[in-house]
């Protein structure tokens, strides 16, 4: 099936539907997902996720963005509405572009201990944990979430793809490492009413999950692994499912969430929400140690304030020697968050402390909930604490930099309890 065919089918589906929030859920035809064997290589100009068809049904703006090479919605209908859904009701998003690895075998634990900055330790079945892996120079290769599926099988979801690194790290270990990205779709359900939506969709056990836990469910006889994880805070759930079942689950959740004003949410709104959580993101705030970027620089776990995720005194692991040196030298950067007066959305650049350049803003946005401009940045440790107020470079279109006053803010900028602020 070519891209054009897919598009036509999509159009038909769209015509059948009236309003995504009130219309009947469409059961997708499995034929839509069949791969044609005579398709020439590189024929697909758009690399799509298993949810592409159902997300494109929802797209009213045709505003897409690229994430890990996949085309995903940036905005479905309206940014403000999607943002509100995340904060007040429930938002459903496609997170399939995340990289999924399966790590299994007798020495899976030993392998992960060697790969990650924190040993597996006493992780129990269906426990999850944020996972960080460093290169030899101590900089982050990528970050993600580790799931323990059973004694010898783990799933590692990472932001960027580093299969060769994972394989090389496995030399000498009795563990097998597989990239299962293509066999697993991901959905994110976030917002204060997310548990209610889950319960209504037949995922009662998941609705009661504690943060950081995961469990198996079978809504409509579709095996689904649900975890209460993610960067958007307390009320986020992530659902991992077979690509063929993914569109069905998507529609099931949308239908179940109808009374809770659920909305498909694009990447733009999710990015605002994660900035409010004060979360630094690989690819937006810092680059992978192996990436090449003109705008981003790599960061060590300490630069990002993630020291608690590094356990140094144990058997050799990647980055150990360099991280040890960093701890002794005390050099590095610190993650900072700012609120900035005024509501002009300019491009922010360097951070000045006491007249001296002391860091960089890595990303920023207008936060409707906080009614202020917020920014995340990385500052040299020496530049910290010299004064309460900082000056930020503002790059205007004329290329002339002006300064704006910024104030330190605690992360998360938007506390979980304030989620209903906009209501």
């Amino acid at each position: 099936m070519t891209e054009i065919d897919l598009f036509r089918k999509g159009r038909q589906v769209e015509l059948e539907r009236t309003n995504p929030l009130s219309g009947p859920a469409v059961e997708p035809d499995p034929a839509w997902f069949e791969q044609s064997s005579n398709e020439p290589p590189f024929a697909r100009h758009v690399h799509t996720t298993p949810l592409h068809l159902v997300t494109s049904v929802e797209s009213r703006t045709n505003d897409w963005t690229v994430w890990n090479g996949y085309t995903v919605p940036n905005v479905h209908t309206h940014l403000a509405a999607e943002y509100d859904a995340l904060h007040s009701n429930a938002g459903l998003s496609d997170i399939s572009p995340l990289v999924k690895m399966r790590i299994s075998g007798k020495e899976a634990v030993a392998y992960l201990d060697h790969l990650l900055t924190m040993p597996v330790g006493r992780m129990k079945q269906h426990d999850t944990r944020r996972a960080f892996m460093c290169a030899g120079n101590g900089q982050l290769v990528t970050e993600g979430i580790l799931f323990r599926l059973d004694e010898t099988e783990f799933r590692l979801i990472t932001r960027s793809k580093h299969l060769d690194w994972f394989l090389d790290a496995g030399i000498g270990f009795g563990a097998s490492v597989d990239d299962i990205s293509g066999t697993l779709a991901g959905l994110s359900l976030s917002g204060p009413r997310a548990p209610l939506v889950l319960a209504e969709a037949g995922l009662e056990r998941s609705a009661d999950l504690a943060r950081g836990k995961a469990c198996w469910e079978e809504p409509g006889r579709m095996p689904t692994y649900v975890s209460r994880t993610g960067l958007l805070g307390e009320s986020q759930f992530e659902l991992w499912i077979d690509p063929e079942d993914a569109p069905l689950l998507w529609n099931r959740l949308l239908a179940a969430g109808k009374h809770h004003a659920i909305r498909p949410v694009g990447e733009a709104a999710r990015n605002v929400a994660r900035l409010e959580q004060g979360v630094f993101l690989e690819g937006r705030d810092f680059a992978s140690a192996f990436a090449s970027s003109s705008t981003l620089v790599p960061a060590t776990p300490y630069d990002l304030g993630l020291g608690t995720f590094v356990k140094l005194d144990r058997a050799t692991f990647n980055g150990q020697a360099a991280l040890r040196r960093l701890v002794t030298s005390g050099a590095g950067r610190a993650p900072v968050a700012f609120t900035i007066a005024g509501n002009e959305a300019d491009q922010l650049g360097a951070i000045y402390a006491g007249g001296r350049k002391a860091g960089r803003i890595t990303s920023h946005t207008w936060s409707p909930a906080l009614h202020t401009h917020i920014a995340l940045g990385l500052m040299d440790i020496q530049g910290l604490g010299t004064s309460g107020a900082y000056a930020l470079d503002v790059l205007t279109f004329e290329g002339v930099a002006e300064k704006r006053t910024a104030h330190f803010a605690k992360r998360p900028l938007l506390a979980a309890g304030m989620a209903n602020l906009t209501e």
Partner: protein, 525 residues
Amino acid sequence: MTDEALQYDAIVIGAGHNGLIAASYLAKAGRKTVLLDSSSYIGGAARTAEISPDYLVSTAAHLFSAFPRKIEKDLKLAKHGLIWAARDMPTVALDLQGRHITLTGKGKQDTSVMAKHEPRDAENWQDFSRRMSKFALFLSKYLGEALPDLGNDVSSYEGPLAALQLEKMGAKDLQSFLRFLPSSMSSVLDRYFEGKLLKGALALDAVIGHHAGPYSPGSAFSYIYKQGLAKLGQGLSYPVGGAGAFAEVLGEAAEALGVRIRVDSHVEQILVEDGKAVGVRLTDGTVFHAPVILSSVAPKATCLELVGARHFETDTVRHLSRIRSSGAAAKINLALEGLPTFENFTDTEYGGRLLIAPSVMAVERSFIAAKRNELPIDPVMEMVIPTYHDPRLAPMGHHVLSIMVPNVPYDVAGGWDERRDEFVKKVIDTIEMYAPDLTAKIIAGEMLTPPEIESKFVLSGGHWHHADMSFDQLLAFRPTPGMANYASSLDGLYFCGAGCHPGGGLTGLPGRLAAEAVLAQRKTR
């Protein structure tokens, strides 16, 4: 199960000449040292054995081009019986018409030889040898000492680069040097000379022991690197009794200094506790303990097989597993009932290092064949007649011929079992073009293919230097960036073999420098 008797200050794995020398220096500094080797003799690739009864030859390595006098003195090798049978051996480029070129390395003499042979090249010879000598001298400063560990961090290269003091060379020589580094030997030779034979011999000198041809970029650097090493030595030499006798001398010197040498002791595992190398376990289960372990086994095998990849960070494992060691050679040793007759040979020539490399292209073709896992059609080679200097190696009047054929594929197409005889015949036929009575005089012979060299001397890939000696695997990048300076990233584990700076050859330098690094880094036991 710590047995007091098996507790040492240092364990050295592999009793090749570097292992012997490293152990000796440690013992000399008062460290209780044990030297373990998997075979039942010492010396590693420095070995003398019989081709057939009464005909002895250096089985593998057969010439000393850069053995430093310092080690000879430090370890009192003369006292233990080291006698050189030949010193400053000349190099002879064999010519089919008998117009051989004999180079002694002495400037004036060589120029006059060149003047006779190829007058046009004589002038340039002076210029060429002056410049090479200058570059070699510059390099040699860095070959006889440990180099700073540059690590993986590019920003830290500035200091060490400045320390090289390149500017002291003078603008013209520096320009020429920088041009030289990435050049191929053929392009350098084309700049200076016209004579095919001279160029062929120099091209062979540049690539022998490497997986490279004279047209390969970087082959010019290999040439000056070798010349640089030679500056630290005492000229081309051959010890009485061959390489094996030399190893015996080293063994006696080591034992005199208090080293306990234990052969038939195959180290199966280097033991690690709390991120530190703490001992070794032999295949028979015996465990030796020491806070310092030096391995003269190739660094890749040391880390990935003896220690295990899990004790190294992935960057390091990547570096190690990508070490190239593809420059294999074959060795043929012949027992002869008399000297083979080479046209126009005098005493000097018979006692020299004989090169068959009629042109740059001939050398390149043998490399091209090796790249394709094929046998060379016209092999190029280096030969020595050790019995000419050391008649005791064979019955009176009889001789042995030691032949080293570079650029021989490890995995020859069709397999070595099938093609062994064909290869030997090719080599002998080639020599016969220069010495027609060779076959008539052969009594016995032996051949070591690269896989046999690998299994016999525990050299991975059959590589004499443990790892290719190309620019990216030399100096502060040897064995890998971040692990130069002899210490591995595993606390307590050191390298002391040809796989570390300054590389392979019978120089003893890796052994000596490794021991010095250990003594400097671990002042207390």
